[in-house]
Symmetry: none
Subunit: 242 residues, 2 copies
């Protein structure tokens, strides 16, 4: 039986999950190999089988493992196609192509939520939100302006410290909100005066306009962002399933 270093406050199933994840990513458990049975893992870790299943569930969800009823649980084959149709943690997909991605902070403030933001974040109007404006560049060319809103309540205990604007995702995950999915509402719009100035383009040129809501695993909306992207440079690829 493996002794888990029972870190205070960390659920057992998380510890088991991360142990397994480590063995998979370090290829101690190799792709295609069979995982020990749930029964075996349960006794090995000294927990009940349900707990083992809970540990495994998320790894299956992430595609690291797959199950075959009556056969076993296996390590999945490495993802060949990491297409850009998945939600990724670059500042923005299109920018990760260009190497010189440099997001810069335009403003950071704490304001009461307006109706649209409140609705998207499942909070009340006038509940506080942290508003972060970022200018994204690739190769020193301004390409995107993001106007992000995150619920103050969820993150109030860390905002004062070290808000790394460049990586909101790790902020979310530090606070226990595992980023799971996003819904994007997309339109084409003309550049306003303000945006034109920021992005050094003419007023009226086409922008790809997105309203994006990011959801955590438990369904909590953690971010609502207005995104403005230069239409002539920025493009977006999505995959739709029937």
């Amino acid at each position: 039986m493996v002794e888990l270093t029972k870190t205070a406050g960390v659920p057992v199933y998380v510890q088991i999950r991360e142990t397994l994840r480590g063995e998979i990513t370090q290829e101690i458990l190799k792709p295609g190999e069979k995982l020990p049975s749930e029964h075996e893992l349960a006794s090995r870790f000294g927990v009940s089988r349900m707990t083992v299943r809970q540990s495994i569930a998320e790894l299956i969800d992430e595609g690291l493992l797959y199950r075959r009823h009556g056969v076993g649980t296996f390590i999945a084959l490495p993802h060949l196609e990491r297409d850009h149709t998945r939600l990724t943690n670059s500042f923005d997909p299109a920018e990760s192509k260009g190497n010189n991605t440099k997001p810069s902070l335009l403003s950071l403030e704490i304001i009461p939520a307006g109706p649209k933001v409140a609705k998207a974040l499942y909070i009340k109007e006038d509940d506080l939100v942290i508003r972060i404006k970022i200018l994204g560049c690739a190769n020193n060319v301004p390409i995107t302006v993001h106007d992000a809103h995150i619920p103050h309540k969820l993150f109030s205990h860390v905002i004062d410290k070290n808000l790394k604007v460049q990586d909101l995702w790790s902020l979310f995950e530090q606070c226990g909100y595992k980023v799971k999915r996003a819904i994007e509402h997309i339109e084409a719009r003309e550049a306003t005066k303000e945006l034109a100035k920021l992005m050094k383009i003419k007023v009226g040129v086409p922008l790809l306009y997105k309203e994006r809501t990011i959801y955590a695993k438990d369904g909590t909306p953690v971010e609502f962002t207005y995104c403005y992207n230069r239409g002539d440079i920025y493009s977006l690829t999505v995959s739709l399933e029937r």
Copy 2:
């Protein structure tokens, strides 16, 4: 206590899940409302709490519900958003909202494929493709122009007969290609002179520009389409998973 009609072979948690899903989609349970507590649901359905949690888990995963620790489980907001994140067989998603959707045929020709079309459809350059241009309107307002290309080889035996432009999908499916997924490449562009004329707008106004490839279940590309959509009317909602 609600009696589940214990359909043979269907797990209890699936029955509960579908019961709840039904009440959500029929808006017996309204968006924003609180679901009964897990305890309550357990006794109401006469099952253990773990089973209730299993039922709820998938609905949360799908974004129909969300949880707040120490508060409750709630019905997520409007179905509008979710529904437009799937590939559907309307002439186009945004148009199915307006009732008066009237696609009209602009042109139909058989031409050799250019490099871009050929690459998208996995055929050789100069292989024949059927090119179909369609103007889409809602409430008599022109909203979209589609410039579709389908491989002549796959559909040559039916093209002469009764090509129903309005429903390419059924054409595909008649020929044994079950439509499965689409990949869309999205940009913002200015209206060209030709497009402006067709859509009765000014040259230069922002259009949502898409290049869409539709794939059948077996992976065959069956359609490649340039789509031009009025930016001020047309919008698009997509869902991204991590």
